[in-house]
């Protein structure tokens, strides 16, 4: 067995199997359980890293290994290429970060065995999702990460909000899942296989129904939109913030919520096997992605301006940033049919990783603040600069990176996306996405001011605020360091992904979108500064007051209200249906039945129940005796001559 084959299998099998041992170990020693989880996360990290060299040195060809699974239907397998290895490494790295961070953040919580069990189950499933060789396996893991997400959001299962949010998230993502399922079914019909290789070969042969493939592509997009919290299905991510913050960082910022990005980039790679198909997808499919992306980027950023929940800001920020990635993917093939030449495809994945770093950092720091203050409401914060200096310093890095200021990671990754969107040539999309970058800066400053600047609130003065413990700060510091250096890694990542990138590192400073971008940050900064430091024109008052604009933002564009309305309607319909059922299918037959039985033998049914059990025994004895007699007769008539 080659090293990479071994690693590719065990990198997801080990955490899945290890998860079963967590309850066993947890019974004996909590400490051992915690170390066990960290050790497993470490092993996963090593295995993930061991996949890198062969992919890097390879020609960009995918390597697959398969074993028998459901005979005549599908084989289980792993699929190693730069895309899957990039995701695997990211998940493995974050798994380790969160496993360590949880030791501090979750300390003293009830039900930690369950927490760590689900954590390992999630790690295994998430890696399984990105490294699967076929669509059935991928879909199973796709659903399993949703399951883990549900269980972890409902971790505090006694809180009504947690339960409610868990159910909401699971059901909303299921809507995307059924679309993905339909897409898989169509592909299976067309190519007779679930494996990526099989589909690629089928596309290469050129014998496929283009219209059906376009429909399939849209169904895949539906799955990605729901999973990655994109417009119009983005509202679940805000609800998902009921999860412990460590979980939010891992699932709802760094990894699970990116599954949709993985799915789309994977399928763009597959579709690119047939250039004719890419051409067929260029008029509608790709623009739909980029429209969804820019709209979500804009909507998410505006919502980040209003929410008072510190995790809410980060959630909407995630929604918005994934919108950027979608915009990158949507414009990826605007001028080419070859993924290796595509800026957008690479930019999206590059930004995916930098987003994982800065948003993960944001969540880890927010976790420390929530841990210290016991609240998520930013109105109850303020002036934390002095009490939490380290958190403050790290948060500056997070803010700067999120806003995309040079020379940190997002400057390069977001810059590439902006270039790609501009190159694609839609003016409105370009305006929207630049507006989103400006608003991003504004909501960052707003959050920063509310939490760290100004006077401490009454809530804070009542409690003793302490800096986050080391075990929580060290993982955050590692992420902060990566935020700083990740951008410079761009050429190496491009060569790892086998992308021929026209844009050099220095080019990022001189390209056309950078001055526009930096110019736009100025008004955003001034506006945020003016409103939060000088209280210019009472913007804060307007934002707190009641007017159509705040109504729209406070209700998240009324999209959730629409969904709740639908859910209410279904419930109402079901209740009406129940009354109908009771009247027509329960009451009438009962009435007829009792009339008949009364006519036949008055009171028969009731006497049987109320009567002494002895009479019952006689009844049954008679029935059984009769039955045995019949059976004896059968056995006699059968005879054993035939044997």
């Amino acid at each position: 067995m080659m090293l990479e084959e071994f690693s590719a299998w065990f990198v997801w099998i080990i955490p899945l199997i290890a998860s079963l041992f967590v309850p066993v170990i947890g019974k004996y020693s909590e400490k051992a359980r915690n170390y066990f989880v960290i050790a497993i996360a470490g092993i996963v990290g090593v295995l993930a890293l061991s996949l890198v060299p062969s992919v890097w040195s390879g020609e960009g060809e995918a390597i697959t290994y398969t074993i028998p699974w459901i005979s005549g239907f599908v084989e289980a397998g792993v699929y190693i290429d730069s895309l899957s290895v990039l995701f695997t490494c990211l998940v493995a790295f974050f798994a380790l970060i969160i496993a360590v961070y949880s030791q501090g953040y979750m300390k003293g919580e009830e039900g930690l065995t369950r927490y760590y069990y689900l954590l390992l189950l999630f790690i295994g499933s998430m890696i399984g999702l990105v490294i699967s060789d076929n669509m059935l396996q991928m879909f199973i893991f796709w659903e399993m990460v949703g399951l883990c997400s549900y269980a972890l959001i409902s971790f505090w299962y006694k809180k009504p909000e947690s339960i409610h949010s868990g159910v909401k998230v699971f059901i909303m993502t299921r809507i995307g899942d059924i679309m993905l399922l339909a897409a898989i079914a169509i592909l299976f019909y067309m190519f007779g296989t679930f494996s990526f290789h099989g589909v690629i070969e089928g596309l290469q042969s050129g014998v496929f129904n283009t219209e059906l493939m376009v429909i399939t592509a849209f169904l895949v997009l539906g799955g990605a939109v729901a999973k990655s919290a994109q417009f119009p299905l983005f509202t679940w991510l805000y609800s998902a913030m009921e999860a412990p913050t460590s979980v939010s960082a891992l699932l709802h910022a760094a990894t699970m919520v990116k599954a949709g990005i993985y799915l789309l980039s994977r399928f763009i790679l597959i579709f690119a096997a047939a250039p004719a198909l890419i051409v067929a997808l260029q008029p509608y499919w790709f623009p739909t992605i980029s429209w969804i992306g820019v709209i979500t980027a804009f909507i998410g950023a505006t919502l980040g301006l209003m929410t008072t929940d510190i995790k809410g800001v980060l959630a909407y920020s995630t929604v918005s940033q994934i919108g950027f990635m979608m915009a990158g993917l949507g414009t990826a093939m605007a001028h080419t049919t070859d993924v290796a030449m595509s800026t957008g495809w690479f930019a999206s994945l590059f930004h995916m990783v930098s987003h994982a770093f800065f948003e993960g950092l944001g969540f880890l720091l927010a976790g420390g603040i929530i841990h210290a203050l016991g609240t998520r409401d930013m109105r109850l914060m303020g002036g934390l600069k002095k009490a939490m200096p380290l958190t403050f310093a790290l948060m500056i890095i997070m803010i700067v990176t999120t806003s995309g200021l040079p020379p940190f990671a997002a400057f390069f990754s977001k810059g590439l996306i902006l270039t790609s969107v501009m190159d694609a040539g839609s003016l409105i999309q370009t305006i929207l996405i630049f507006a989103a970058t400006a608003i991003t800066f504004a909501y960052c400053i707003r959050m920063f001011s509310l939490v760290f600047m100004g006077k401490p609130s009454e809530h804070i003065s009542k409690i003793h605020v302490h800096e986050a413990p080391k075990i929580m700060l060290v993982p955050a510091a590692i992420l902060a360091a990566l935020c700083i250096v990740w951008g410079i890694a761009q050429p190496y990542i491009a060569s790892f992904m086998h992308i021929e990138l026209e844009h050099t590192l220095l080019g990022a400073f001189t390209s056309a979108e950078t001055p526009i971008f930096l110019l736009l940050l100025l008004p955003a900064f001034l506006l945020a500064y003016a409103s939060y430091y000088k209280n210019f024109m009472g913007i804060r008052k307007i934002a707190a007051g009641k007017n159509p604009l705040t109504a729209i933002l406070n209700h998240a564009y009324f999209i959730d209200d629409l969904y709740y309305g639908i859910a209410k309607g279904i419930n109402g319909f079901s209740a009406a249906l129940t009354r109908f059922e009771n009247a027509l299918f329960a009451h009438i037959p009962d009435k007829v039945g009792s009339d008949i039985s009364d006519a036949a033998a008055p009171g028969h049914v009731m006497t049987l129940k109320k009567g002494p059990s002895d009479s019952f025994r006689n009844y049954v004895a008679a029935a059984v005796l009769g039955f045995i007699l019949i059976m004896v007769l059968i056995v006699l008539t059968v005879g054993f001559g035939g044997i």
């Binding site: 699974w69 659903e143 249906l577 039945g593 049987l608 025994r617 059968v638 005879g639």
Partner: protein, 539 residues
Amino acid sequence: MSLPLLLSVFAIPTISIPFVYLAGKKSTKAAAGFVAAIALINIALLAMTIPAIQGADHFYKETYEWIPQLSGTEFALYVDGISVSIAMISLVLIFVAALYSVNYMAGKKNLPVYYALLCMLSVGLIGVFLTSNMILFYFCWELMLVPAYFIVGEWGYRNSYKSALKLFIFTHAGAVFVLLGIGATYWLTGTTDMLSAQGILATAANSEIAKWILIALTGGFAVKMAVFPVHMWLPDAHSEAPAPMSALLSGVIISAGAYAILRLSFGMVFPSVGLSFGTYFLYALSIIGVVTAFFGSLLSLVANDIKRVIAYSSIAHMGYTMFGLSLFPAALASGNPVALASPIALAIVGTVLHIITHAASKGLFFLTAGGVMHQTEKRDIREMGGLASKMPFSTVSGMIAALSIAGAPPLACFISEFFIFMGAFQIIQSPGGAFYIIPTALMLIATVFSLAYSLRFISKVFFGQFKEEQGAVQVAHDAHGSQSQPEAPVTESHGHRIVDIPNYMKAALAILVVLVVLIGIYPTFFVQLIQTVTFGAVA
């Protein structure tokens, strides 16, 4: 093969019935053990037929002389890949039910009779799957009903005899149509053997009568499946029955209807009805399936009785099964054999697999709910909540059951539904399949509803705050003395601490949990067996 394997499967439980009763007189545990042991032996015996099924013939058959006067009616015992799989899962459920009953039924009256009836039920239930003779089939079909009636009636809750009577009358009425269909087939073909009847029907020119036979048989079996609009017996019977019986009823007895449709409607009559009638017949089935799935899911979404939630979900899942059956390749109607190993028949493989996975999952679901009722002595899910901290074992098994029912991977029901949907798209692309686009889309949407009611169940029963005060309220209400009902569950132990279910029940649930996860991850064993079957090949 000269060992009387299938005859033993029949004979051992039959002969044992009085001994189970006698053992029960000494100790109820012994009776339960007896029933469980018989089930295990039968599983082993059935397993011994598998090599023959996987061999060249793809079936295993034993025939004995029986009623030669009735045109050579033989005691024909016949299993193929489909029947052996379903029979085995049924036996697993019998085994689990017996084990579970040790704790669950403890303290009830007349337990020796209960176990004897359970043993008798297993004869009828297994017999249905094991025969190729229509008379023997009908005999076993009715035989299931007698012990079911008594068990639901005597050991059930509330108006149990009324529910039992409903169960009996409805399914018996269905059976009358089945008898009509069987009689007509005999009159038309002069044989009571399903396999030879199929061959004769295919060559006979009486396809008009064959259509009526098809409708009568399918209609009769549909009553057993409790599809809309003949479902009304199910919610009462399943929710009033004692938990082990609910598990058997919902798990396998209603699915026996689906099996019978496959075996008799499709296996025997369908090849001779002609393509156009066959196609419309399948369309009708698919509409029934979709309506049933939505009807059951929506009612389950608002039901408040813990067992009614699950009972309605059974109706919904019979909708899935019916939809799966409707995806039968219509080519069979014009006499072309359909091998289940071919991709076009993927949905049928999925349907049979769904019968199996649903049996395990729904059995687990009902047994868990029974455990919750047993320990909390409540049945309204609005009064429950927070049981996760009190009953961790039941919570895990309940969640696995509910999520499997919701079709979440890697649990069992997901993989069967996946097969059905994959098959549906194969059918859509085949001639005349465009009709299925809308039903398939609707069934996909129905899975969202099944997730919704499953999550609602979990949230209401296991999550949330534990409502200790509820018992006090109940007692206080009773103290006013105005409306205390004798049938209402006893309220004595409300003040007591609620603990997890006892060990035998745990063991029973554990078996099904393992099975649900195992089939979900590795369904290959059953898939291979099912795929050996070919419909419409003239024997």
